[in-house]
Amino acid sequence: MDSIARRPAAGLFALPLIAALSAAPAAAADEAAARALARQSNCFKCHSIDKKKDGPAWKEVAQKYSGKPDAEAKLIYHITSGKKAKFPDGHEEDHVIVSSKDQGEVRNLVDWILGLK
């Protein structure tokens, strides 16, 4: 009983820290909107959040780009330019272009992916 009475203070301290650590660079990404754009662009045909399919798992992508300052810009370019992507078997082919021209929506999707650690 004693320890519970002491916990609220520790919890109040931890909460903002956890929020700061798990938040995306700007505001937290809108997951529903990100998933909606991913569905519309058929991303899930080749990508999964935690399993490797034709493309890398998004958790793996988030870990690979973790802490890098240009991560967001690089990924936005990756999914909007049609640049070549390298596949496990060594061949390269043009990456599918995301089906929205709205920069805000694209950035939100990238931010959500980068937050999937």
Binding site: R35, R39, F44, D50, F87
Partner: protein
């Protein structure tokens, strides 16, 4: 029996009594319908059978052409988008997609995907479209909010129709066998060939190709 009324025996003599069935008119009284029947059922006294058949044949062609022209008019983009429910919602979404505008200028309009090309299936679809007229009259999706509320139900109906027909309308233009691995990207080509081997058709994977996916929709590959 000999005295049973025979509707095919020709016009009744004037002054003859009428029978209860109305096969012969009462004395002095011939209804307009009765007269019409008499004229239509009477053998031609003036024209030959060949003449009648020839005129009928060409009249049939003109009627058939007119009927089809009228029906095809309901397949045009202009007809479909005459309703604001379509024009303000799904038409605007479709205009952002590759089926509207692309490198080669090949455009698929509403009827290319939503109306079968062959006669029997087309007629069935057009008959069902009377329900859409009812929906228009009752305003079932006449506001943006009502449309969004019903989007999942409408999309699901259409996906089910396409699935049941084996994506027949897609296959009017697209064919697994016509896919060239030298120009189609390796990853989608592999998926297409696996899909073909598994008996899948276009709509199994390609939902949301011309209109926005409903917000309730979940990709089966999504985790």
């Amino acid at each position: 029996m000999n005295d049973a009324p025979n509707p095919m025996s020709g016009p009744a003599a004037p002054g003859a009594g009428g029978d209860p069935d109305g096969h012969r008119p009462a004395a002095g009284k011939t209804s307009a319908w009765g007269r019409l029947r008499q004229v239509l059922l009477r053998p031609s006294a003036r024209y030959s059978l060949l003449g009648l058949l020839t005129v009928g044949f060409f009249a049939g062609i003109i009627f058939w052409g007119g009927f089809n022209t009228g029906m095809e008019a309901t397949n045009t983009l202009e007809f479909c988008t005459a309703c604001h429910e379509m024009r303000d919602n799904v038409y605007q979404e479709y205009k952002q997609t590759v089926h509207y505008s692309n490198r080669t200028g090949v455009r698929a309009i509403c009827s290319d995907c939503h109306v079968p090309r062959d006669w029997v299936h087309k007629l069935v679809r057009k008959s069902r479209a009377s329900l859409e007229l009812w929906g228009k009259l009752t305003g079932s999706i006449d506001t943006r909010e009502k449309f969004e509320a019903r989007r999942m139900a409408l999309a699901t109906n259409e996906w089910a129709r396409m699935k049941a027909s084996g994506s027949r309308e897609c296959r009017n233009c697209h064919s697994f066998d016509a896919m060239n691995p030298e120009v189609q990207k390796q990853t989608p080509y592999k998926k297409h060939m696996h899909g073909k081997a598994d008996g899948m058709t276009c709509i199994d994977c390609h939902k949301g190709i011309a209109h926005h996916l409903p917000k309730e929709y979940r990709d089966p590959d999504e985790d």
